[in-house]
Subunit: 385 residues, 2 copies
């Protein structure tokens, strides 16, 4: 953390835990008898509880979206560039809730938790959780925090899928849906990349059929591989070339299997670092949630029909060099919303960073976000008069 | 093999072996004191040895490009659709040579061969071989077969890199260079995918530091993963979607880690099948050859300058949905050739199949190939008068 907290930072924040004892029926047919969600809040809920914003995280995200956990923290939360006093998601005006999703590995109940029925760590026995299940559990957290209707629900990538699901499942509970760098469902290629990641993990002998924590091993090789692969899909070809190109590690080639190019070193480092902070079973679950998501499957493949119930305003954002969820994928959602007669705006943002662009404070992107939130806030104030 | 050999098939062919006892100095600084290359030929070399065509194979290719090895063969060689009597590469007119490159695993000296110094299988100790080394060894094979100058040298993907190198290294030894779905060097993203593949293999405990054959294991999990990943990059997003989309294995989701989508099944099958026919150390070597190739590095990054020596005519071919080596990569070569004042034609072919399109007999593509070979043949005949 910087010596002086910047004026536009939410400062030091403390995660909180919400316990739930009402059973949660999951899409997979199993149920969780009780569970907990870890979350953070930034800003203050106003008197009529009309200024709340929910942040939905992506595959490897967590509840720590903004600020610092202590003065020793080197880095702030994962979306600190967008959340804070005066920032696009302005904590002077809004009460922001950010949680670690159910099945996560950062404090919410998931594969690294103890299974109350066995007294052992869940591991691979933790039930598969879907985007629909997350939205249900997020709604219960909102109830607990006194939020009936969100001013906005915002998410990028897998987070955007949760926002889309909110708009269909709980149309009365949000005024605006912000869906960033997302897709209405995975393509065959998207599923294929996920499957390679899953196989990387499950083929690691230290995976032990998912029981590695009870057996005191860790499938670091496989999880690292999965992350290396995913990382390629987060960056654009161009951004990789401008950042690394063919930069060599040594003056001349060594002609062996050690690192020759800096991009190799970078990828290995990213893979290794990830294994120190993320759980392999959770990674598997997150990729399955991505695969399963397809709200139009409930309406014979017609996304416009699936979105008929939605009443909120939508903002879709895509990035020009994103090839994981290209602009065309966002436009599928835009087209369905237009067809369904919904209020939608769309910003296709020029950016070099590929899919990762959704984490960068690109001015046009932040302006689109800020503009929408201001407009929605005004509407809410007028409606309250 | 069909009951009756089609008239446009080269029929049953028998691989041959060429032994070389003159040491080959490699780019890596090591040398091979002796080695062998396995190859096939189709058609007949004419009296003035002016009708020869060399086929250079890609990463997982081999010498068996056309025809059948026996009546029991279910499938013909890998490029049978282009090579045969009356086909684009017409064996009625041309004498076609197709070899397994040095360091291959299909009969040419490579990691699965016996190291004469130790009496054991080479494994990971086999020296790293580059595109330059391949071209040198191919030239020696040409000498042995009595071919001083090729009418054309043709290759796709990594094969195209060999063709490019031929045009620079031995400008007098080819009349035409056909470079298909290739690139003048790998991008950072290309190298990154290769590195994930290599890590998949080397992290497999059965890899045994590359000594798996001597230790009687096989890194099938890692090699299978590498192939699954590579396979995604060979297909286009669209072709995967039209072939598999989100087709499910069962009527409803099973919510477990078994196969839910047909694309998962297909990929696992492709990975598994590959491990039964290909050697992991050879795979590593092939990816390194790809990484190292960069002829412009010898001329301060100026590809046009690198190509100054070339005297042959060039045909470049790319495919619209190829994202492994996109049309832009072929156009880099075209631009350099134009800048260097060389004779070049370029066909960007509409195709759904992604990088794999180079293996399909797409009419416009075959016509471009046939047209060039006819033109070059006529030129050679006229020059001989």
């Amino acid at each position: 953390m910087p010596d002086v907290i910047p004026v536009d930072s939410v400062g030091v924040v403390t995660p909180q835990i919400a316990h739930f004892s009402e059973p949660l029926e999951l899409a997979c047919g199993k149920s969780l008898s009780s569970y907990q969600l870890v979350y953070e809040t930034y800003g203050t809920l106003n008197q009529d509880a009309s200024n709340a914003i929910l942040i939905c995280h992506a595959l490897s995200g967590d509840h720590h979206a903004a600020g610092y956990h202590s003065k020793d923290d080197k880095k702030p939360g994962w979306w600190d560039s967008a959340i804070g006093p005066g920032k696009a998601i302005d904590t002077n005006k809004h009460f922001v809730i950010s949680l670690n999703n159910l099945s996560g590995c950062c404090g919410s109940t998931g594969p690294t938790s103890i299974n109350p029925d066995t007294g052992k760590i869940w591991g691979a026995d933790f039930p598969i959780v879907t985007v629909e299940d997350w939205v249900e559990s997020q709604a219960r957290l909102a109830d607990k925090l006194g939020v009936t209707t969100f001013a906005a629900i915002i998410g990028g990538s897998l987070g955007g899928m949760q926002v889309l699901e909110w708009s269909i499942r709980f149309p009365d509970r949000l005024k605006a849906a912000v869906i960033i760098a997302s897709a209405p469902k995975l393509s065959a290629q998207n599923i294929a990349f996920n499957e390679v990641a899953r196989q990387s993990i499950s083929r690691d002998p230290d995976f032990r059929d998912g029981d590695y924590l009870n057996e005191e091993t860790l499938p670091k090789n496989g999880l690292g591989l999965a992350r290396m692969l995913a990382h390629i899909t987060y960056l654009s070809d161009d951004s990789m070339d401008s950042k690394f190109g063919r930069q060599m590690r040594h003056d001349t080639f060594q002609y062996n299997y050690d690192i020759e190019f800096e991009i190799e070193s970078y990828l290995r480092y990213q893979g290794e670092a990830f294994t120190n902070r993320f759980d392999a079973n959770t990674y598997l679950l997150m990729t399955k949630a991505l695969d399963y998501f397809d709200p139009a499957a409930r309406t014979e493949g017609d996304l416009a029909k699936a979105l008929e119930k939605a009443t909120c305003e939508f903002l879709l954002v895509s990035f020009t060099t994103d090839w994981r969820f290209s602009p065309a994928r966002s436009e599928e959602i835009v087209d369905a919303l237009v067809k369904a007669g919904k209020k939608v705006s769309y910003a296709k943002i020029e950016a070099d960073e590929g899919h990762d662009a959704f984490l960068f404070p690109i001015p046009r992107y932040m302006a689109a976000l800020k503009g929408l939130l201001n407009r929605v806030s005004k509407q809410i104030q007028e409606e309250a008069k």
